[in-house]
Amino acid sequence: MTKHDPLSPVRLTLGPVLFNWRPEKLRDFYFRMADEADVDSVCVGEVVCSKRTPFFAPFVAEVVDRLHAAGKEVVLSSLALIMTEREAAQARELAQMDGVLVEANDVSVASMMAGRPFVAGPLLNIYNEGTLAYLRDLGAVRACLPAELPGPVIGTLAKTGGVEIEVQCFGRLPLAISARCYHARSRNLAKDGCQYVCAEDPDGMDVDTLDDEAFLAVNGTQTMSYHYLGLLAELGALRGLGVNRFRLWPHNVDMVAVAGLLRSVADGLVEPEDAALRLSELCPKAEFANGYFHGREGHRLIEADA
């Protein structure tokens, strides 16, 4: 296996929960992550739909405290699509918080953070070194890159310097965001009267083609991949490119075990092939893909070189 610079230990980030989980379930999930998960950073906050925000708001403080107490870095993630004054006010409030790192998923939030350290989130369009350098100079200390970037682009961005690069490596990929709610639409409801039907699908709603081929997933106003991203064999190559921080998107599976597995592979302690089998056991309903990293269609699963 590839040898890595021992001075650059692997860091794992648990991304924000993108789905609409019941507030108590979400709180208990974070408590368990604080107590048991081998991750360095944990993102908290509603990214997809501002209608969901009020339900978890009462729990945020105790979740942040518990994560801090467990020695985790806490990152508060912003909404991805900010359209109304109410959403903008929510973002301003977020940008003024002390003691936590803010993850900007909309340019407006990055703009509010100007001059202070922040994380450039995976829903910002960072495709090249010019944009990355501009955001770094604005205050970005870390950038989680968009899902569709191929390996060589990740490598180029990792050489920019002065900003830590984070790469998504597990979970359904956030592919698009809209003003329209497809979960509500699938039930013939309008977004205004959505009855929070997105809560019925804790890992998103499967979307098949007319041939019943699994294709996409819907999470309220967000469209995701049907396949789960599973970068295992690629972790060595990514570390070779200078990437040492990896993001896991939370799913309704044993995320403590998933995080442990990812770290073992990134540290070179478990062979990727063995890890792939174990990951399939941990996520029995998931099909995995890694095409984007290899410059291919995102849904493809490219086998590791023999």
Partner: protein, 329 residues
């Protein structure tokens, strides 16, 4: 009341002439490469064609805007920077950009060049718009097709004197523009990086028992019966199975048409009306530009809106006012 400019599409020199002759205030075009979001086969302008097009438009009092609205490839910004340089050199009236790094380059290298923010940057709130206006001197922002008319009016009050431009007709993105990777997930070709959504190279029409099946990269996007109007297999306008039923989950094959709500958009303080369709033929350009020219002129003169039917050139023969009305969401 601001008199909105009519911003019209041209994929070829013939379409540019057609747009100018039909009453366009501005024509927007792209170079024949991946620097713009309509990088379609056989489409777009060479440097020479742009130069001639600008001469034709300027001689008739119209402006030419150049869309350079994809995101430069890491390690290879030269193609995009050259597109900005050449647009400035050839006398384009503005460039339409989306990438922060490229906007920064344009603002530093060509301080006299007028900058518009592309819809692909999806600046959907006053703070995002202020970011581009204050830091780079962007003069106009094309708003993403996710906002209602009252939201647009509120943005205009907050961002003036920065101008806003909205889409009034044509193909409708249902996702926030520039923030959608559905096409690259299916085809490997990214709208943001390669300038193509649902690229023709990955499209197949296949005969089935009851009509035509349209496929994108092997995924069935739709099926049409013998007498059903067909559509191009744009991913978000397909029929899918979800929640136990078959439906147009994201959007029907439909075209945005705001002719009837032009007075509302003018009252909302919008500075420019944009017609989508650089990939459409010059017959489309002429028909739509004429319809909107007449309608805008009528509203500004206090006359009633003319009754113009554009059914024959809309996708699936269906029309929508899209996100401009809240019920769409």
């Amino acid at each position: 009341m601001i008199r909105p400019e009519l911003i019209c599409p041209a994929g070829t020199p013939a379409a540019l002439k057609s747009a100018v002759d039909s009453g366009a205030d501005c024509v927007y075009v792209g170079f024949r490469d991946e620097t713009n979001a309509r990088n379609f086969p056989g489409l777009n302008f060479s440097r020479k064609e742009l130069e001639e097009g600008i001469a034709y438009a300027h001689a008739r009092g119209a402006k030419v805007l150049v869309a350079i609205n994809t995101f430069p490839r890491a390690g290879h910004p030269q193609l995009w920077q050259a597109a900005v340089d050449d647009s400035a050199r050839l006398g384009a009236d503005a460039v339409i950009l989306a990438d922060i790094g490229l906007i920064d380059y344009a603002a530093r290298t060509h301080p006299e060049l007028r900058l518009h923010l592309s819809v692909q940057a999806a600046a959907s709130n006053p703070q995002a718009i202020a970011f581009y206006a204050e830091r780079f001197g962007v003069k106009r922002v094309v708003l993403p097709r996710v906002l209602t008319v009252p939201e647009i009016a509120a943005i205009n009050r907050a961002v003036a004197p920065v101008e806003t431009e909205v889409f009034v007709f044509g193909g409708l993105c249902v996702m926030a523009e520039g923030r959608c990777a559905l096409s690259s997930y299916a085809t490997g070709q990214s709208p943001n990086m390669n300038g193509v959504c649902s690229p023709a190279s990955h499209v197949r029409y296949v005969e089935s028992g009851r009509g035509i099946t349209s496929q994108l990269a092997g995924f069935t996007i739709n099926q049409f019966g013998l007498n059903e109007p067909a559509g191009y297999p744009t991913l978000c306008k397909g029929r899918f199975n979800a929640a136990g039923k078959t439906s147009y989950l994201f959007e029907e094959p439909t075209s945005l048409n705001t002719l009837a709500m032009l007075p509302d958009l003018i009252n909302a303080g919008v500075a420019a009306f944009k017609i989508e369709g650089r990939q459409r033929g010059r017959a489309y350009v002429a028909a739509v530009v004429q319809a909107f020219r007449q309608s805008v002129d009528a509203v500004m003169a206090g006359r009633p809106l003319p009754d113009i039917n554009l059914d024959s050139i809309t996708e699936g023969g269906r029309q929508t006012t899209g996100a401009y009305e809240k019920a769409w969401r």
